[in-house]
């Protein structure tokens, strides 16, 4: 990644291994995260391949039941804790939040580096658990199975998740303190890009929710290791209490995954429609509403668990309120397209794909929040399909859209646009083919986490597996052309999309200090102006 023109930027300022492993530059730490979560994504994806191959036939003949249970557990653990939760915040957020607010770095650069090391340490514990036999509790670690019954490596996995939790907490702390105190002159709260608002809301969830999962897995570890009674009914405990504590974090965790994705969409849609965002205040407020309401609805994971029916009513009632800010966002993005000047560049295609898939994911959430209907579809493939529409169709689409959008900024290189478009279509197609049949399977009654299943479910499962192979190709393509672009890609200008954000007002790749002089902000976000032109030409601001 050397620069022939000799200009100093954050990538070529130093080449040594130490300069990466001891860096406190938020941009380099973002690259460290990018590499590590990509590795974890590939690992989680391999587990998914195992799952889909097993489900190709009803008999359970590809792997043993034990192996299958470990496959879906490790797929869930890796994807949720080591890919989805850090994905957009730790990579794009880390890189962009300081740049978008005109700061030189996050408030606590060394703590930022510590976050990454904690992530790696947590991942190593979890990998150790996997290499030495795996774990089979499901990513949900329900007691008493996890504390008293499973004979697999629950402890090292729990330790891994505990440690990674602190990585997430520290990232959240860093964002909150940075956004509060380090905005450039003139950058008032209501001029912040919605990406920053989304990360602010996400950080609140990380700080308020993650410690609860940390202490909960610690208690699971204590109960399992020392045979003390906390959740195990054989020792007088209540396993439902575990579910409360688990979902207190793990439901809001879904919003940790999706809110930053929504932030990406707001940036991309405005840029490629050359339009001011429609309803800025409503989108910003809806992020905070989602973060708040997300903490009040966890009991909807427990409608058939033996929870009090009155508590179930309250949780169901509140769950429907989350639908409203989500709907508001989708409507506002759509309205932003109206009378815009829409370019069909690949980041935009990913963003539009997100809007479609997230809409389906969100609407099927209503099915699950409705008490009487959830009783039937709870713990079936309907749920699996629903959360994959949110987490894969939503988060990963947005993550890829964001990576395409900011790749020129991050690496200083352009990727092959035609291939990017192709992979976007392949992913969209493969995704729907994989997961749409699962809605039908779920309503038919196929329970999740089944190693073998009745014959009548096979046709739809074959569709799903076929779709997954297409989806796999779709994910491999960007991996290839992004790597290719590092060496052979065209050099990216400072602002290839003619975008308005502060991050585009500096060079690509940015210098270590981000901006040569601290920018002064005088306009609202997305100030594409009536003529579709930017407020400030990029080179002017840098010079």
């Amino acid at each position: 990644m050397s620069e022939p023109d000799g200009r100093r930027h954050y990538l070529n300022v130093d080449y040594g291994v130490r300069s990466w492993l001891l860096t406190t530059d938020h941009k380099r730490i973002a690259i460290l995260y990018l590499c590590s979560i990509t590795a974890m994504f590939i690992l989680g994806g391999l587990f998914a391949v195992g799952i889909r191959l097993e489900l190709l036939t009803p008999q359970g003949d590809f792997v043993q039941a034990d192996t299958y249970n470990k496959l879906f557990t490790m797929h869930g653990v890796v994807m949720v804790f080591f890919f989805l939760i850090p994905s957009i915040p730790a990579v794009l957020g880390n890189f962009l939040v300081p740049m978008m607010i005109g700061a030189r770095d996050l408030a606590f650069p060394r703590i930022n580096l510590l976050s990454w090391y904690l992530y790696v340490l947590g991942a190593l514990f979890t990998l150790f658990a996997m290499i030495t036999g795996g774990v089979d509790t499901g990513w949900t670690f329900y007691t008493p199975y996890s504390t008293a019954s499973s004979a697999t490596n629950v402890m090292p996995t729990a330790i891994g998740i505990f440690i990674t939790g602190f990585s997430s907490i520290l990232t959240g702390l860093n964002f909150i303190a940075t956004i509060h105190t380090m905005r450039a002159p003139g950058l008032t709260w209501f001029r912040l890009p919605l990406f920053v608002w989304a990360h602010y809301a996400t950080s609140l969830i990380m700080v308020l929710g993650t410690p609860v999962i940390a202490i909960t897995v610690a208690l699971v570890g204590l109960e399992r290791g020392l045979h003390i009674g906390i959740f195990d009914p054989a020792l007088g405990g209540d396993p439902i209490l575990f579910q409360h504590l688990f979902w207190f974090y793990s439901h809001p965790a879904v919003y940790i995954m999706i809110l930053p994705g929504m932030g990406v969409i707001s940036e991309v849609v405005t840029c490629f429609a050359r339009r001011r965002i429609y309803g800025y205040g409503f989108i910003a407020a809806s992020s905070l509403m989602i973060a708040l309401l997300g903490f009040l609805v966890w009991g909807h994971h427990m409608f058939v668990s033996g929870q009090s029916q009155y508590a179930a009513l309250v949780f169901s009632f509140l769950s429907f309120f989350v639908a409203i800010p989500s709907a508001v966002k989708v409507f506002n993005w759509t309205a932003t397209l109206y009378r815009g000047s829409i370019a069909w560049d690949s980041p935009m295609l990913y963003a539009l794909g997100f809007m479609g898939l997230f809409t389906i994911g969100g609407l099927t959430g209503l099915f699950l929040a409705a008490l009487g209907l959830d009783v039937h579809v709870h713990d079936t493939y309907f749920v699996v399909a629903h959360f994959h529409y949110i987490m894969v169709g939503g988060t990963i689409m947005a993550y890829l859209g964001g990576v395409h959008f900011w790749w020129p900024k991050i690496t200083g290189r352009m990727y092959p646009e035609a291939l990017a478009k192709v992979s976007g279509f392949v992913i969209f197609l493969g995704f729907n083919l994989t997961f749409f049949p699962q809605f039908i399977l779920g309503y038919l009654g196929m329970p999740r986490r089944y190693h073998s299943y009745p014959d009548e479910f096979q046709v739809l499962n074959v569709f799903s597996t076929a779709g997954a192979s297409i989806l796999g190709v779709g994910y491999l393509l960007p991996l290839c052309y992004f790597l290719w672009s590092l060496r052979y890609g065209a050099k990216a200008p400072a602002n290839p999309w003619n975008a308005a954000g502060l991050e585009w007002q500096t060079l690509s790749p940015p210098p270590t200090e981000n901006f040569e002089t601290t920018p002064v902000v005088t306009t609202d976000a997305y100030d594409y102006g009536p003529d579709g032109a930017r407020a400030t030409p990029p080179e002017a601001a840098v010079a």
Binding site: T24, D25, P98, A103, R104, D105, L106, A107, F108, P109, R110, I111, I169, G172, L173, N174, I176, A177, T178, H180, T181, M182, V207, L208, G209, T210, P211, V212, A214, I215, T216, L219, L222, E223, L226, H227, I228, G229, I230, L235, G236, G237, D238, L241, H244, L245, F248, T512, E513, T518
Partner: protein, 216 residues
């Protein structure tokens, strides 16, 4: 090009010391909010089982040493005072009093953990440590065991926080000796102070919830 420490007089990412102080203070408070929720999981577990097994919790609580508990509460409150006085000394540029108050805080913290160790030892001797060795001659042994599981988990995580505090205090004392703190720069003392007071507050709740229930 990078500063050595986030807490250097002015780290490169900040525009001025005022911004730095606000960011550090804000970050610390956000960290404490996270800590509230960390202990919150334990308090929630406690509350549920206390409601379900009120009787067993009272019985279990009777076997805690109320005298030692009260002394420890007083010791910890006193350490909070000495910590606050330490921050005051730093702010007013009084180097020797700062060191003295920090040392005093460390000492009182040591007394607290020492007394806690004596209590733990007593529980060990009385077979009140949860697990296979737990023995309870009375009603609702399982539920009493849950009380003791929570007693050890809550006071254990609290004591762990105390130990982290010892490390922080030691670091402060060394830096104070070097004369690094003064009216212009005492944020580390202030931040460790916030942490220490937080740990004190956790105990302010743990003491009545664990030691004082069902005594009448």
């Amino acid at each position: 090009m990078h500063s050595l420490s986030d807490a250097q007089p002015l780290a490169h990412q900040f525009d001025d010391t005022d911004q730095q102080r606000r960011a550090v203070s804000f970050g610390m408070w956000a960290f404490l909010v996270n800590e509230i929720m960390f202990f919150g999981g334990l308090f929630a577990t406690y509350t549920v089982y206390r409601v379900l097994y009120a009787h067993a919790f009272h019985d279990g609580s009777h076997h805690l040493d109320i005298t030692l508990g009260t002394i420890n509460t007083a010791v910890l409150i006193a350490s909070s005072l000495t910590m606050a006085l330490g921050v005051w000394s730093a702010e007013h540029g009084k180097r020797r009093p700062l060191m003295a108050w920090l040392l005093m805080t460390l000492l009182l913290g040591g007394v607290f953990v020492g007394i806690k160790a004596v209590e733990y030892h007593g529980k060990w001797v009385d077979h009140l440590v949860p697990g296979p060795g737990f023995v309870w001659h009375g009603e609702g042994a399982q539920h009493v065991q849950i009380f003791y599981s929570l007693y050890f988990a809550m006071t254990g995580f609290h004591a762990l926080h105390m130990l982290v505090g010892f490390g922080l205090l030691t670091w402060l004392i060394i830096d104070a000796r070097r004369g690094r703190f003064g009216p212009a720069y005492y944020a580390p003392v202030e931040m460790v102070g916030l942490y220490w007071h937080f740990v004190d507050i956790v105990w302010i709740f743990l003491f009545p919830l664990l030691y004082l229930i069902g005594r009448h």
